[in-house]
């Protein structure tokens, strides 16, 4: 058991070291959210003035949305590491070693959790720098980062499962882009659900991305309704467990 615990930490360390060796990747993942913030911030600036939106500063509204969107985007590529490892024989090398299968799954999720945590914190800092307010304070910010990690892990589980079932880069890229953008736009990440068409608001109620965006926004807002945040977080945790189980099953199925 102690060997298992060590192994996942070891493999997480390997992922982090690989990331550290690819400064370009780090640069791109940090530049992207800045572009979203500035672009959407300028594009939808007037949106906050629409009656029903609730008024206030749009950047304040947008920042939690960009945090969640970025967490979703990054984690949707998670399965790529599995595909890479399968192609290069690294996966077989690990599987033929006394490392538990669980450790391989845990390591991928732990790595995703760490990178999402850092990424979300940086976006929040940039948002703050461009004029976003966080009346909810440190507790609210921690909760926003928390839900961004939850949605990232749920998405990573799905991405990993897909990569294991169909180990092709093209399939994963296709599936991620098809899934990630609609999920983001069918949520309150950029626009208040009060001003979008009713059917979109209806779908959004069942969309985990909307759960995360709403929970995050409520948490960093003034006098947060913690009960609502907690229930959204609970739903996200259920989604996370579901996709983690899915990827575990996919892992077993890939071993025949």
């Amino acid at each position: 058991m102690s060997l298992t615990r060590q192994s996942w930490a070891l493999l997480t360390g390997r992922y982090l070291r690989q990331l550290y060796r690819q400064p370009a990747v780090i640069g791109i993942t940090l530049t992207q959210p800045v572009i979203w913030l500035l672009l959407f911030g300028a594009l939808f600036k007037k949106v906050a003035e629409i009656p029903g939106f609730g008024g206030g500063n749009y950047i304040t509204y947008l920042t939690p949305g960009v945090v969640i969107m970025t967490a979703l985007f990054s984690s949707s590529w998670s399965g790529m590491s599995y595909i890479e490892d399968m192609d290069t024989g690294v996966m077989d090398r690990f599987l033929a070693a006394p490392v538990s299968r669980g450790a391989l799954i845990t390591a991928s999720l732990a790595y995703q959790a760490i990178t999402t945590l850092v990424q979300s914190a940086i976006i929040i800092a940039i948002g703050w720098g461009t004029g976003a307010g966080f009346p909810g304070g440190a507790g609210g910010i921690a909760a926003l980062i928390g839900v961004s990690v939850l949605i990232a892990l749920a998405m990573a589980g799905l991405s990993n499962a897909l990569a294991l079932v169909s180990p092709s880069r093209e399939t994963l890229i296709g599936a991620s882009t098809t899934l990630v953008l609609p999920l983001t736009f069918l949520s309150g990440a950029f626009l208040s659900l009060k001003i979008v068409p009713g059917w979109i608001a209806g779908i959004a109620r069942f969309n985990p991305v909307n759960w995360a965006a709403s929970a995050g926004r409520i948490a960093v807002g003034g006098s947060p309704a913690w009960g609502t945040v907690a229930s959204y977080a609970g739903f996200l945790a259920i989604a996370l467990v579901a996709t983690a189980l899915l990827s575990t099953r996919a892992f077993r199925a890939s071993q025949s």
Partner: protein, 328 residues
């Protein structure tokens, strides 16, 4: 460590891939046994079932039927314990490109729970032994093919496994790299007493370096023994005929079939081989047969049996032909 049963034992292994419509029978009752501390080669064309066999023995795949033990441990019942006892070099490199040679070794060692200090000296020792000491701090993706292969073998050896499996380790290496790798492997078995099971589709390698060779064809072992034993079983010689062109090969084979002394023929491009009991004596009849058929011959050699002939004898087709018809 002295299992009388052998370090590796495969018994009636069966494995079928794919759906009912497109079934591929990869293993069809494959059995063999490897003596502790020896170098054993599974020789066969691509698609014969070598990789499937190695994957089963290294716990990466489960057979549909049959049993296997490695280092005396049941592969199906105790895969975890088998993993601790073996080292594996798969067809693909297995090295993490963004990690340095040294980091690849230490990552592997730590997966086996080796203490850091011991691991540090073991990694240095292996890097030295495999001529990678100077490249230890470089990322593995910058290594040449040969260096990468050496790193793969070193990585598989970190925890001092009792049995080392290598699946087509010399594929993609130049002749010099191949010879170098084999030298290391034979050194390992004689020095550290490591049992080595290696698959290859190079006849010359199996012939030269393996203590015992098992020939795999269509998921079964068709012959097994030292390469001398295998060749001796074949009493008789090969007449190797070089023709003017590939198109002549078919006619030549047909003509040779009419010659009473010829037992079997095979062709590979413009080269046709005929199995005969006594080479020098059969030669005039062979040449006369071709003359009558009007097939011009550029050169002719009489050769003692090779492993290719052994393969032809047992599998009923030449090694190269089998490679051509293989379903990956």
């Amino acid at each position: 460590m002295n299992e009388p049963a052998g370090a590796v034992q495969a018994c009636e292994l069966r494995k079928t891939y794919g759906s009912k419509a497109g079934e591929v029978r990869a293993l069809d009752g494959l059995s063999f046994s490897v003596a502790t501390g020896s170098v054993f080669a599974l020789l066969g064309p691509n698609g014969a079932g070598k990789t499937t066999t190695v994957r089963i023995l290294t716990t990466l795949s489960r057979p549909d039927g049959g049993r296997a033990t490695v280092a005396g441990i049941d592969v199906l019942k105790r895969p975890g314990r088998v993993r601790s006892a073996i080292g594996v070099v798969s067809q693909h490199s297995g090295a993490v490109g963004l990690l340095t040679g040294y980091e690849n070794l230490t990552l592997q060692g730590r997966m086996y729970g080796m203490p850091r200090r011991e691991l540090r000296s073991r990694a240095a020792e292996l890097l030295d032994q495999f001529g990678l000491a100077d490249a230890a701090g470089r990322q593995a993706r910058t290594y040449s093919g040969g260096m990468r292969r050496r790193l793969d073998v070193a990585t598989a050896l970190v925890h001092r496994p009792a049995v080392l499996f290598l699946d087509e380790p010399t594929t993609g290496l130049d002749p010099e790299g191949r010879a170098e790798l084999w030298e290391m492997l034979t050194g390992l078995s004689s020095g550290a007493g490591t049992t080595i099971l290696v698959t290859t589709h190079y006849l010359d390698e199996a012939d030269k370096f393996a203590a015992r060779v098992a020939i795999v064809d269509r998921g079964r072992i068709v012959a097994e023994g030292t390469s001398d034993e295998l060749k001796a079983q074949l009493r008789g010689d090969s007449v190797v005929l070089e023709l003017a062109g590939t198109t002549e090969a078919g006619r030549a084979e047909k003509a040779l079939a009419q010659v009473p002394q010829v037992r079997q023929t095979s062709s590979d491009g413009a080269v046709v081989r005929a199995r005969v009991a006594d080479g020098p004596r059969a030669l005039p009849a062979v040449l006369a047969g071709l003359e009558t058929a009007g097939v011009p011959v550029l050169s002719v050699t009489v050769a003692r049996p090779s492993l290719d002939d052994v393969y032809l004898h047992h599998a009923g087709r030449s090694f190269r032909q089998a490679e051509g018809s293989a379903v990956a």
